[in-house]
Symmetry: C2
Subunit: 388 residues, 2 copies
């Protein structure tokens, strides 16, 4: 049996429902249940499809963060991306979901772009390449439409003065042993990789540190990033800050099968944001792993296995209309939609969203500066807000 | 027998002449010999007392740096200080010597102040304390009178954007194993301490990195700092830079005996820059470990053991007049000067120098900004210089 190993730098083992449950147990998190969905809904009125479909399926302290919100405790959102290559549609998941949360709660959002990490961890990646990828990724992320006045993109090298200052507070409290145990690294790894978690933990308390006020922090992320925030939960109280709350997603299956995640570095593992209409269709029709049955009769009789179906999961990732998702899921599960039809539906949705992103990218390019983190500007802004 | 252990974070074992020789061998450096002193003298005309007296006693690649200088290769100086407490007279050694080198060769000098290191390594030190100590130390160092237009103080937190950017180049090439082997740290140490060497190595190639031109780098330092620069010599060629050249000093004996070095954190281990005239006298008369003999007769017969004598070594550290040092050494060695007289001589020299530092400190305070490292300013300056 293949061992399940999920860290920021390695995902191996078969990621099925049983594996996701096991990870939640192993990481000491909680499953998203109906009770907490009701609590979310009491603020947001509706539920994002990712919640309904349990793509975001686990959390830590989300309930107490929401209870605090009721008592007027401030919170902010924090998510991020490691710019190792161009983005595929799976990479949009935390950002699409975070945008929804920002829209619903009207809160600050920190987006960390870990160019330093990718440079140090990827043997062959040069600083020039990572710089180019970083820009491309930031533009793609912002093309989803975050609130400019409340969204702060922290690109690590660019914001290193602030990050390093606070990272040393974290680093002072974290031993080499801890990093080895939590991240599965060892003595042959480089010292940058070992230190880096202290950089990724900073945004989890940065608003509190800059303002001197208490902010809770909610971090949406894919489950492989959990090691960072387990360490954060251990360290932050020692620095006088709140433990951050987490909400964690599964991965969607890779193009050619469900046992791994899509990868920035392999063109054929997924659909990328710069794939044109024809490429999207070709990848779906020709390569997409299908949960449909081998014959039309079987498909009609047993329906599709949705969990492993690339087309359905891509469609579900990019479709905003929760009712439409429900309808297609039912019909496809029941075998009323064929595998080929499912691919057509997915292609339509994907191409519509990618077209929109491409359009928005052009606008975002001119506005980039507005979104970039600026310590002094943010300090001033928080001061003004907390006075009001 | 007490084991000899000399790293930036621990100095233990008896530091006598034999020990210093052993360190040079162990670290793979070379002793300063007459041949290299002649080479230095061919440029500087005279020799600093620290060289004559072999307080700076070992080096690496100093000969090839000087040969390069003859062929118009550019070089610069780099030294620094970890601001863990107030400075004692022993701390002046690398700075007094570096000032002499800067005066003789008219070259750029980077002075790194490792506030980040001290914060991460000293369990109880707060950021507020280290900030206060940092300022005090910078002012003391600059009161020695470096060339404002060619002296750049890199305070790590303040210059973290530049330092971290280049430190990741270093960190990517250094494994945890290497740091463990060279610095004697282990898994129970914090990840900041492990990463920090990549920050201290940056100034050893920073002028080359900022200018795109080839600069050699000469680093004067006390021997306990050698681990950093052994790692630097390994890494820099991999990044396309020259190996730095080193010139290393012994420690002068601590106030109460020669088996250890003076310490910032223990008032009674040395004479501090803010000790007033009376304190200096009192410390010397009452506590200073003497190499003089037990009786006046023995002193006249055998003379003093200079190696272990606090008063003589303090005097030698702060006296600029090489002839006077020679004279006093001879007379004291021969027993023509008593231990009490030696202490008087030392008190006079120390108080004269400390008085000058106190006076200069006031002037320096207003000029501090001029000396602080500014990446853009330095880039421009180097560009102008390299055009001319």
């Amino acid at each position: 049996m293949e061992e399940l190993n999920v860290t920021p730098w390695e995902v191996s083992g078969r990621l099925d429902e049983a594996a996701y449950s096991k990870l939640v147990q192993r990481f000491g998190a909680s499953l998203i249940d109906d009770k907490i969905l009701e609590k979310i809904k009491s603020y947001t009125k509706d539920l994002h499809p990712y919640l309904k479909n349990r793509l975001f399926y686990a959390h830590r302290n989300l309930d107490s963060l929401l209870d605090g919100y009721k008592k007027n405790e401030k919170f902010y959102l924090y998510t991020g991306r490691g710019p190792s290559g161009k983005m595929h549609i799976g990479h949009l998941i935390p950002f699409r979901f975070t945008k929804w949360l920002q829209d619903k709660f009207d809160v600050h959002l920190l987006i960390q772009i870990t160019d330093d990490e990718k440079f140090m961890v990827k043997e062959k990646l040069t600083k020039e390449e990572v710089e180019r990828i970083k820009e491309d990724n930031i533009i793609s992320i912002l093309s989803l439409g975050f609130k400019p006045e409340k969204t702060h993109v922290i690109a690590d090298y660019q914001s290193a003065k602030t990050l390093y200052y606070y990272a040393t507070d974290v680093a002072k409290k974290v031993t080499v042993s801890t990093i080895k145990a939590v991240f599965g690294v060892n003595d042959s790894d480089n010292i940058g990789k070992l230190f880096f978690p202290s950089i990724q933990i900073v945004p989890a308390f940065l608003l509190s540190a800059l303002s001197g006020e208490r902010y809770n922090c909610l971090i949406p992320y894919a489950i492989d990033q959990d090691p960072y925030f387990r360490v954060a939960r251990d360290v932050l109280p020692k620095l006088g800050f709140e433990k951050p709350a987490s909400i964690m997603s599964k991965f969607i299956p890779a193009l050619r099968g469900q046992t791994t995640k899509m990868s920035s570095s392999d063109e054929m593992t997924g659909i990328f944001l710069d794939d044109d209409e024809k490429t999207v269709k070709r990848k779906l029709m020709k390569y997409a792993f299908s949960g449909g049955r081998d014959t039309l009769e079987e498909q009609k009789k047993y329906g599709a296995n949705i969990e492993v179906d690339f087309a359905f999961n891509s469609f579900m990732t990019l479709e905003d209309d929760a009712d439409k998702i429900d309808k297609i899921r039912e019909e496809y599960s029941r075998g009323e939609i064929t595998s080929g039809e499912m691919k057509e539906i997915a292609a339509d949705t994907i191409n519509r969203v990618l077209e929109q992103i491409r359009k928005n990218r052009e606008k975002v390019k001119d506005d980039l500066d507005k979104f970039m983190f600026d310590e002094e500007k943010l300090r001033d802004q928080l001061k003004r807000e907390n006075k009001g």
